[in-house]
């Protein structure tokens, strides 16, 4: 049991305001559309990684297949808007429903698996989905993908400029963030932490472990679908290349790099690695060499992620004898 949890909860809301304010003010300084697009991608990644962090960091279930849900969201929007002329809002709604249903169908048998078997099953699922994107050419356009995906609009007010879409993405990011904070501080959050600590003990204490695991898996998949849908409407174009195993791995890396079992870890991990990837695009061949090296070095020197390393620094600086509660959720992993 953690003591003095209350001040942490209060400071979380403070930090939501700070984060919201910074992200809302950034476009004032970054007027270039290219920078705004990076901010949008940052927001989309944050939405997905917040969900994945709930699944991995709190429930302790690894998914190497979230690119599939990202892709399902993107393709659902793309197909419904370009082939059937439906509104992008319908596309987003449909991708949420479809992603949720598929996630549920996958979660029920898959979440009985543990550890590496679960990782393999989610990875296998994502590979199957990737092949379907390539092979169902009549719907997905095969390797060419789908062009001409319309922008999101409110009636006649179209979010055609990046800045308008960014406003929407930022709102959804903040909603996802507040939801994640609410979940981890609720009964469900405590149940998830119990599942992570010891599933056997949790179920002995009356926690319906499979119910919570399935719920959090579906939630994280739905967030990935929303992210995919937003991405499709931003880029105006989707192709199978954007939903490979590499993308699943990047998402997992964002969770771990920021710090598991910490919503701020998700935000920081997603934001920093999005920036890093964008920055390294200029270095062509050396791009991924640097990305890989940073991953290895980050894990060797700060295995609890940026937030873990940061709070340790603060701890040393302020000479606190007790560990900072925010990162405590991960302590069970060491046992």
């Amino acid at each position: 049991m953690r003591t003095n949890r209350k001040p942490v909860i209060q400071s979380n809301w403070f930090w939501v305001l700070v984060y919201g304010a910074i992200m809302a003010l950034l476009p004032l300084a970054l007027t270039n559309n290219y920078y705004i697009k990076i901010l949008i991608i940052m927001g989309i990644n944050t939405i997905i990684v917040l969900g994945l962090n709930l699944l991995m960091g709190y429930a302790g279930q690894v998914s190497l297949g979230h690119a599939a849900f990202y892709g399902i969201g993107a393709y659902a929007s793309a197909i419904l808007t370009t082939k059937y002329g439906l509104s992008p809002w319908f596309g987003i709604a449909a991708s949420v429903v479809l992603g949720g249903l598929i996630a549920y169908a996958i979660a029920v048998p898959t979440l009985r698996l543990k550890g590496h078997y679960l990782a393999m099953a989610t990875l296998g699922f994502a590979e199957i989905v990737h092949v379907l994107f390539l092979e169902l050419r009549d719907y997905t356009g095969g390797t060419d993908g789908i062009f001409g995906i319309p922008s999101i609009s409110f009636g006649s007010f179209t979010l055609e400029t990046p800045i308008k879409l960014y406003a929407l993405v930022l709102i959804i990011t903040l909603v996802a963030l507040i939801m994640a904070i609410n979940i981890i501080n609720s009964r469900v959050g405590r149940a998830l932490r119990a599942v992570h600590g010891s599933e056997v003990a949790a179920s002995a204490m009356g926690v319906d472990t499979s119910k919570y695991k399935i719920q959090v898996f579906v939630l994280s998949a739905v967030l990935a679908c929303i992210g995919g849908s937003l991405y499709a409407h931003m880029a105006g174009y989707v192709s199978p290349e954007s939903f490979t195993l590499g993308v699943s791995i990047t998402l997992v890396t964002m969770v771990v790099f920021g710090g598991m079992a910490n919503v701020w870890g998700a935000v920081i991990g997603a934001s920093m690695l999005t920036l890093l990837q964008e920055y390294l695009k200029g270095y062509d061949d050396y791009n991924f060499v640097i990305f890989g090296a940073i991953l290895v070095l980050a894990m060797v020197f700060m295995p609890k992620g940026l937030v873990g390393a940061g709070s340790k620094l603060i701890q040393i600086a302020t000479r606190r004898s007790t560990p900072i509660p925010e990162t405590a959720g991960d302590s069970s992993a060491a046992s």
């Binding site: 099953a121 296998g124 590979e127 199957i128 092979e135 894990m299």
Partner: protein
């Protein structure tokens, strides 16, 4: 489909399956000594092939020497990788270790791209390419090499586990590391050895397949994935399972190309894997006793 066509697909399935099995054996060795999945395994396969090609065609070494040297280099890479990235993280959570191996895999792949370029490279088959007729189907000599080497490796590995002191120590470590340490086994050396052997097997697989399907900086991801799938299919941590899983995966893939289409090949392989996992979560040969609570 004619029977000889089916036989042809089965033969090519066994060939690619033997490659998957060799890679899966590497996953198994490392999993048994550390409980981690080495996502950089596929990159050892890639490095093996590329080093062998370079040593053979650029420095004009005799084929056997080029192969031995390539395996030795990749084995050293495996040991260095264990020393620099795995050992410092000995007490970390499983997911951290997964990320480190993924990072190392990205690193190795892209260094290889800078060093060798993007073009696929190849080397001649070890003993010519005159196919041998086998009940109406044909087998290339290189396929026989692949299958033969796998059989040899399996026999050697069995003898190693049963007869040698190090092999017994390795087996003891995989069953219970703490007890093994208490019995005076240097488990950190065992971990290093398992990385060395694993890199060695992977590089061997990469060299064997190069004359058949060429190699390039990017083959590691796909081959590593198939090896991982084979290891899980057979029951993670079980060497016999790794071989059975590898061959099974190769044959199922190959036959499904014949019956359905090559585009769906990977989807079918993974669909079968998922079904097996759902029906028998610990893999075909996995026992329920394994794994920690």
């Amino acid at each position: 489909m004619h029977l000889d066509q089916l036989l042809q697909f089965i033969i090519s399935g066994i060939t690619s399956g033997s490659i998957y099995a060799l890679i899966a054996l590497g996953f198994t060795l490392i999993y048994n000594s550390t409980q981690i999945i080495n996502f950089a395994q596929g990159e050892f396969v890639m490095l093996g092939g590329l080093f062998a090609v370079s040593l053979y065609s650029v420095t004009h070494l005799p084929l056997v020497l080029a192969i031995i040297l390539a395996i030795a280099i990749v084995t050293i890479v495996g040991v260095v990788f264990e020393r620099l990235a795995i050992r410092p993280l000995k007490d970390s959570s499983g997911i951290t270790l997964i990320i480190v191996t993924i990072g190392a895999s990205i690193l190795m792949k892209n260094v290889a791209m800078i060093f060798w370029g993007r073009d696929p490279q190849t080397m001649p088959p070890f003993t010519g390419d005159t196919p041998i007729n086998f009940f109406g189907a044909s087998i290339t000599p290189q396929s026989l090499w692949v299958i033969g080497v796998l059989i040899l490796v399996v026999i050697m590995l069995q003898l190693f586990y049963k007869r040698s002191v190090i092999g017994k120590a390795m087996k003891a470590t995989s069953i219970d590391p703490t007890a093994a340490r208490l019995m005076g086994i240097n488990t950190s050396n065992i971990v290093m050895l398992s990385f060395a052997m694993s890199a060695g097997f992977a590089s061997l697989a990469g060299i064997l397949i190069t004359p058949i399907s060429m190699t390039s900086y990017s083959v590691g991801g796909f081959l590593g994935l198939k090896g991982f799938a084979a290891a899980v299919l057979g029951g993670l941590g079980n060497p016999v399972g790794a071989v059975v899983g590898g061959i099974l995966l190769g044959v199922l893939e190959s036959v499904s190309i014949g019956f359905i289409s090559s585009g769906y090949k990977d989807a079918i392989a993974f669909l079968i894997l998922l079904l097996v996992l759902f029906i028998r979560p610990s893999g075909i040969m996995g026992s329920k006793l394994r794994g920690k609570v």
